[in-house]
Structures are given as structure tokens and as C-alpha cells.
Subunit: 253 residues, 2 copies
DNA sequence: ATTTATATTTTCGTTTATGTTCGTTTTGGG
DNA sequence: CCCAAAACGAACATAAACGAAAATATAAAT
């Protein structure tokens, strides 16, 4: 087995077990420890792992994890959330979906909805929904960010401003205890804010891990959300706030 | 077993197992590793696989979802035309590519150009060029037409109007004897006209079969084109006109 | 039967991945 | 603090994989 096949597998193991050991990996793959060391060094240089004596661990939480890694994270939870969210979206509706792996999961669940109109600034969502012949797709233009397939920039914001949809399905990078939705990208925040303003209903899809993370830019508050779909029970304090705000919380067990 | 049967089967195996190994395939099909290598290289050139040392994997990134096996007419001719056209496009340039399988072929040939800025209203072109990390991609928004991956409508025209590019690479549905470029879609005609007006140079890519076809809407005349890339010699009358107009005709034999 | 075109194998010089060796750094127990 | 064991990275050696091109085989057309 060559490097190219080994390195993703190392990442996979790291994700599953939290850390990897040089000796262990060498034995597992049947190569020398030096080869593993080289792999770990390269993965660390690429920012996918953090090197420690004797092995490597997942990078610590300050920075944004790469998109491909995020896609694999919490996959089942995202699929569950997406399924419930998609059920709440009626047929014959107009929908907006923004950037993020969670919204992509929703798009996957919408592949058999009939007579949809979908607006998106996520080229992956467009690709996914293209297989649904009963769905009209409007792509908001912009600069393609290949890290996550997002379309961003002034062009995007201008395009989004032209639509009013029945349901906006929004993902976010992080959620804090006050109920604020956070994101890493300021431009994407603008796009999300615009669409929240223009949507008749707003759904938030975010798995529980989003509560463990931090991000610099505020998109909105849960107050502005109609329904929040997640996988883990929400802390009591925030749950009370949501009740007060009229934000419905749906836990997708 | 010949190439034609082998390559789809390689894809099939790759989809099932996530990756393929040169040695393994050579044994499976009873051919030499060199033959397999050539298959993999061709499949990688076509964007269906990603070559790695020792084998190949499914392409990663934004392009891997929803790929269709639509194989165009005159594929080799288009590839030849595209190759010559791509050579005429310098690195560090801004390029526009419109809808059509011919322009998609050009996009495929541009995957190794450096420091490009590509503007397109064709989602397939965006997907293809996404694999070129040295290429910034701007997607003109609009309604996704799933028959050909085109983005059409007012949104598209408005977006395109905002750009001025070094080279516009244009495809068309048909070419008549007077040297007029024709298309089926009036909206797409608008988009093409806009971009021709705004480009410093305009290249037309069209294989010889376009002379046998008819379409209702006039995009422009060959008079407005700087260089016309095609595969078959052009009729004498039209050739004379092109000389008069200063339109360079390149026959890609 | 002969030519032509296409697919495949053979050959060879080059690149890339892995293994080996060795001196240096880190770690954890006296 | 010191020392031994483990882990480390750099440098080099080797084997595998690679692409290009020439040679050969196969199939189709004349």
C-alpha cells in the first residue's frame, strides 16, 4: 500500500481514536516506523494532524478544520438531522441552502422532494440536487471557494438579495451558550443574514459538536430562527431562552 | 478484452472499492501494467479518476458529486480542438467559457494552466476547473439547466456584464454558410453577445459537424471572432470571408 | 493479400516511495 | 540533575512505479 492510500487511512484512525502511535501504525500497515514518521510529518505540515512525541493527535480546536475532515465528522448525526429537517420542508416549496456540510446533508435528503425551487450559494448542493429532476435550481454566482464549494463575494450577496424563499436552511460553524450563531467567514455571514431576512421561515441545522467550537463572526441569534434541528439535547438555560423566543428545538435522536 | 470494455470496468471497480491498484488491475485483466497505466492516465485526463502513485482513486473535491457519463459526439475532434485552443491561451490570463461541450473540453485542457482567472456560466466547467488549484473560478449565477449544466437567465447576464476578460472561449450550436454563429437558446445568445463585447479576444471552438446543423438565434458573425478553432477545413467561400474579416482559422488536424 | 489504423507490449531512462543507517533530541526513571 | 531508552530527522541506498517511444500484434478496410 502506498502513501496516498495510507495517509487518508491514518487520518481516519486518528479521527476514530483521537490519536495515533507511530509504532502501532507501522505494524498495522506493515511499513517501517520511518515511513510512518514521514506520513505524520506531511500530515502535520498540511495541518491535518498535530505531531506529538510517539505519534500524533487531532489538531487542537482553535482553527477551522479542513472541509474534507468536517464532512466525515459526525456523519450519522448530520444525516439524522438532515432527514428530520427535510421532512419539515413541504413539497412545492422554495428553499434556500447555504454553505456547509450540514446543509449538503439536507440537500441529499431533498433529492426526492417534488416541485422544489432551490436557491443556493453552494456548488455541492447544486450538484447534489441536480439529480432531482423535479427541482429547479438557482445558483447564486460568485467566486468559487474550492475548500468547501462555496460561492462567495459581492456577486453572491447581490444574487441572494433578489430572492424571497419559503424556507431558508442555514448551517453555521459554531453556536455559543447565548444562542448566537457563529461563522468563520465574514462574507458568508453577510450572505446568511441576507437570506434570513428574506425567508418566510428559517431552519438551523447544527449537530451538537457545534457547541464545543468557536468562531469569530456572528451570523444571528437563535431568536431569529424558527426551528433548530440538532442531535443532542440543548442545555437547560438555552432551552428556556428558545422557549421564550418562540424558537422550536427539534432533537433528532 | 479491449480498452473500450476495460476502462468502464476500471471505473466500476474504483467506485466499488474507492481505489484501484495498477498491479492488481493488470492481473485482473490479464494485460501488462503499462496498458493499465495508459488507461488510468486517460481516465484521469477525462477527469473520471485521480491518479496516485501505484494506482488511482475517485476524484476528490467539489467535482466528484453527481458526475454523469454523458459522452459527447465527436469527442476526439473536440479534444483536439480544445488542446490547440488551450495552447493559444496564455498563463496568467482571464478567460470566459460559455455553455457547451466544446468549451468543457477546453476547460479540461486548462487544468494545468497556471494562475488563471476563469469566468463561466457552465457548472461543468466550474467542476472541471476546480481541480486546478492555480485557477480562480467565478461562477455566474442563474437558473441551472440540467440538460447541459448551463446557468441561464437575467442573473447570469447581469453577472457576466460585470467582467472584462482577456479571452472569451465561445461555443455555438450551429454555424451557417454566411459565417453566422447560431444557438438554440435566446437567453444564452444574450450572455454570449455580452461576453464577446467585453472580451479583448474572442475564440470560437466548433467542430465540423456544426456546419451541418441549424439553430434559430444568431449570436454573432465570424467577423466578430478573432480566432476560429475547428477540425475540418472550412469551405473556400467562407475561408475567403474570414481572411477579409481578419478572422484567423485554425484547423486542428 | 495488402495496407492502414489501433491497441498492446517491450524497452529504457527518470521520478518517487520506502528502507537503512546514524547522529541528535526528547522523555522518564533513578 | 543525570542517564539510558526511545523517538526523531537527515542523508543516502534501493526498489518500485512512472512516462515516452519504439516495436509488435490485432483488427478493419481495400
Amino acid at each position: 500500500m502506498s502513501q496516498t492510500f495510507r495517509q487518508p487511512e491514518i487520518l481516519e484512525i486518528a479521527r476514530r481514536e483521537g490519536r495515533v502511535l507511530v509504532e502501532d501504525l507501522a505494524e498495522r500497515f506493515g511499513v517501517t516506523v520511518q515511513t510512518i514518521r514521514r506520513d505524520l510529518t506531511e500530515l502535520a505540515d498540511a495541518g491535518r494532524l498535530e505531531r506529538v512525541h510517539g505519534g500524533a493527535v487531532l489538531p487542537s480546536g482553535v482553527s477551522n478544520i479542513g472541509y474534507e475532515d468536517r464532512r466525515g465528522l459526525n456523519e450519522e448525526a448530520k444525516a439524522r438531522i438532515a432527514q428530520v429537517c427535510a421532512q419539515a420542508i413541504p413539497e412545492n416549496a422554495s428553499v434556500f441552502l447555504n454553505i456547509g456540510t450540514s446543509t449538503e446533508a439536507v440537500a441529499r435528503e431533498l433529492r426526492h422532494h417534488r416541485n422544489l425551487l432551490a436557491v443556493t450559494n453552494n456548488i455541492n448542493v447544486a450538484n447534489i440536487l441536480a439529480s432531482n429532476s423535479e427541482c429547479d435550481i438557482i445558483v447564486a454566482g460568485g467566486v468559487l471557494r474550492r475548500s468547501d464549494g462555496g460561492l462567495v463575494g459581492d456577486l453572491t450577496a447581490a444574487a441572494i438579495a433578489q430572492f424571497k424563499v419559503d424556507v431558508a436552511v442555514i448551517g453555521c460553524s459554531a453556536l455559543d451558550g447565548d444562542g448566537d450563531l457563529l461563522d468563520f467567514d465574514v462574507q458568508e455571514v453577510k450572505a446568511s443574514q441576507t437570506i434570513i431576512r428574506q425567508a418566510r421561515k428559517t431552519y438551523l441545522v447544527a449537530d451538537g459538536s457545534k457547541f464545543q467550537r468557536q468562531a469569530p463572526a456572528v451570523i444571528a441569534s437563535l431568536r431569529d430562527i424558527d426551528t433548530f434541528f440538532t442531535d443532542l439535547p440543548v442545555a437547560a438555560g438555552l432551552r428556556a431562552k428558545c422557549r421564550e423566543w418562540g424558537t422550536q428545538v427539534v432533537v433528532c435522536g
